[in-house]
Subunit: 100 residues, 2 copies
């Protein structure tokens, strides 16, 4: 797999315009994109996190996750690119596809 | 189940002295106790979070969780008590018992 490269700001901004639930999250080398999801209870949020975890393992690309009662938050960033790469946009779209 | 009550600061401090990996985390009504754990990879951290999630469901007492590659962080607090209750100390000890 080629080393991921950091996307141009304009590319990320265009993607964010098309995906308004997502926003920039984190700064500098850990700059990424984040989104919060809500769920009816803890178990539903946990189940979503497990699905995202499996997705992350398949892609060998892993988010930062926050989990609480009825809520989960994902932050995708590419450490090797010190910013947002195409891997993150793709993973974010795959995450949304797994949300209830 | 009786409504949980907020523990005296001295009680929490004594528990923290005996459990030095834990520290106070959060303020005001969301004051709690937190601990970070490290793991060899993402899957191990996710597996721990799932175990903690099952523990939380059994107890009907749920932590805030942060999950990342090779790491997880738990924060236990008791919303109904606006602070740290005995439920949190018990859940923290149960969490440690499930750590690898």
């Amino acid at each position: 797999m080629p080393r991921p490269t950091k996307l141009e700001d304009a590319t990320v901004d265009a993607w964010l315009s098309a995906h308004p639930e997502w926003s920039r999250a984190g700064e500098g080398a850990s700059a990424g994109i984040g989104r919060s999801y809500t769920f009816p209870d803890f178990a539903a949020a946990l189940a979503f996190v497990v699905r995202i975890g499996c997705l992350a393992e398949r892609r060998d690309h892993h988010p930062d996750v926050e989990l609480g009662w009825g809520r989960a938050r994902l932050r995708w960033s590419t450490h090797d690119a010190a910013g947002v790469s195409q891997l993150d946009l793709d993973a974010a779209e795959a995450s949304d596809a797994r949300a209830p």
